[in-house]
Amino acid sequence: MQLIKYFLVYILLLFIEKNLLHLISIKDVTPDLILIFVIIISLRENKSKATVIGFIAGLIQDVFATGFFGLSTLTKTIVGFWGAFFQQPKKRYNLSAYASVVSILVIVHEIIFGFIYNLGIHLGFFRLMFQFMLPRALYTLLSALIIYLIFKSMLWKTESILE
């Protein structure tokens, strides 16, 4: 049942990403909603489940993207697995802890993405990082925080003892 819920949420996010995300783009930079989805799943589920969900989420994203095939599959698999190390299925993260974990995972994602993408286009890793990756990472982080503030009670039923 939970997996069906995840799948439906994923389809909704993919639809938003393909049709509506350009409405909130800032200078062509948009947040990576699928990355936020994988991070939240990894914070709720065990390593195996989070890794497989990350893999499938990335693979579907790759199929509908026009860039490097397999790149999102790789980065989302890694984020899903390593995100599950911060797993807290019952207790809810407080905002600052959540922000720290999401920042680490988003930066890891962007570094791997940028590094492999740069192998194909030879733009220069640092230029790619500052011109594209960093703005996208910041926008994704901001979006992840907004999603947390809106949906926190839906995502984690129990209040955190840290709050």
Binding site: K27, T51, G58, V63, F64, T66, G70, F81, G120, F132
Partner: protein
């Protein structure tokens, strides 16, 4: 038994390693025919959903669009009559100086179904494919100018690379002075005209057009307008910033140029 217990302790890591290896294999087989076919098949599935969504969106804009088209139609009809006169005059003059008539470009209209929104992977999915005689590397244009080229083709759909793509390059020249260079994306909605030697005759406001020297793009298609020129004291070339003529945000229909320049 002990081995199984040991393995189960590392199950998550093994699973992770296997999936990472699969992902790396996918990355390394980007040009694989089967992967391209699978991807185009999946794009076809997405397009079915997207088509319905687009029709739903278009329904509410029909009235406004109709009025807009009517206005455009009137303008074009007026323009057409003037152009017809000019064409006749041109033909007469060409005959006088013995010029051969260039073949007209053959265009196929395509509807943009999906537009990639990734910040540096700019692509579009169109509703034309091999069944419409569309092939890889065919140029994409609109009335304002160059849009990009076909990147992958399926039976019913194709993916186009836009001018605003990091991997896109096109041989170009300044329309006024015929100075040649290479246009590629710089950042945001702008391009750079590269490899133009210092002190070349380039001015702000000049139109940049395709040169036709490559195998892909016919000559004379508008790319954009020069908006900034700088020269670094050390380099050999000018930095020429170009604003594309096409508004990529409002791309709804494009034309695929079927005929290649070297076929003329």
């Amino acid at each position: 038994m002990a081995f199984r217990r040991n393995i189960s302790g590392y199950r998550d890591y093994i699973l992770h390693a296997v999936l990472v290896i699969i992902a790396l294999i996918l990355i390394s087989s980007n040009q694989n025919k089967q992967i391209e076919t699978f991807k185009m098949w999946m794009v076809g599935v997405l397009c079915l959903v997207q088509d319905e969504w687009n029709s739903f969106q278009t329904y509410f804009k029909l009235k406004q669009r109709n009025e807009q088209l009517l206005l455009e139609n009137t303008k074009l009809a007026l323009e057409n009559s003037t152009m017809y006169e000019m064409r006749l005059e041109n033909e007469r003059l060409r005959e006088l100086i013995g010029f051969k008539e260039k073949k007209e470009l053959q265009l196929i209209a395509a509807r943009v179904i999906v537009r990639g929104t990734k910040s540096f992977i700019n692509g579009i999915v169109m509703d034309v494919g091999t069944k419409d005689s569309v092939a890889k590397n065919m140029p994409l244009v609109v009335t304002n100018g160059l849009v990009g080229k076909i990147y992958q083709v399926g039976k019913n759909h194709s993916i186009g690379h836009l001018l605003l793509d990091r991997n896109f390059r096109v041989s170009a020249k300044i329309q006024r002075s015929r100075v040649k260079g290479i246009v590629s994306w710089e950042s945001g909605g702008f391009c750079l005209l590269k490899e133009v030697p210092k002190r070349s005759d380039v001015q702000i406001g000049d139109w940049v057009i395709t040169s036709g020297y490559g195998e892909i793009f016919p000559p004379g298609i508008i790319i954009g307008r020069v908006i900034n020129i700088t020269e670094s004291p050390r380099g050999l070339f000018m930095n020429i910033k170009v604003k594309p003529a096409v508004n990529f945000e409002k791309l709804e229909e494009v034309f695929v140029v079927v005929e290649k320049p070297n076929q003329k």
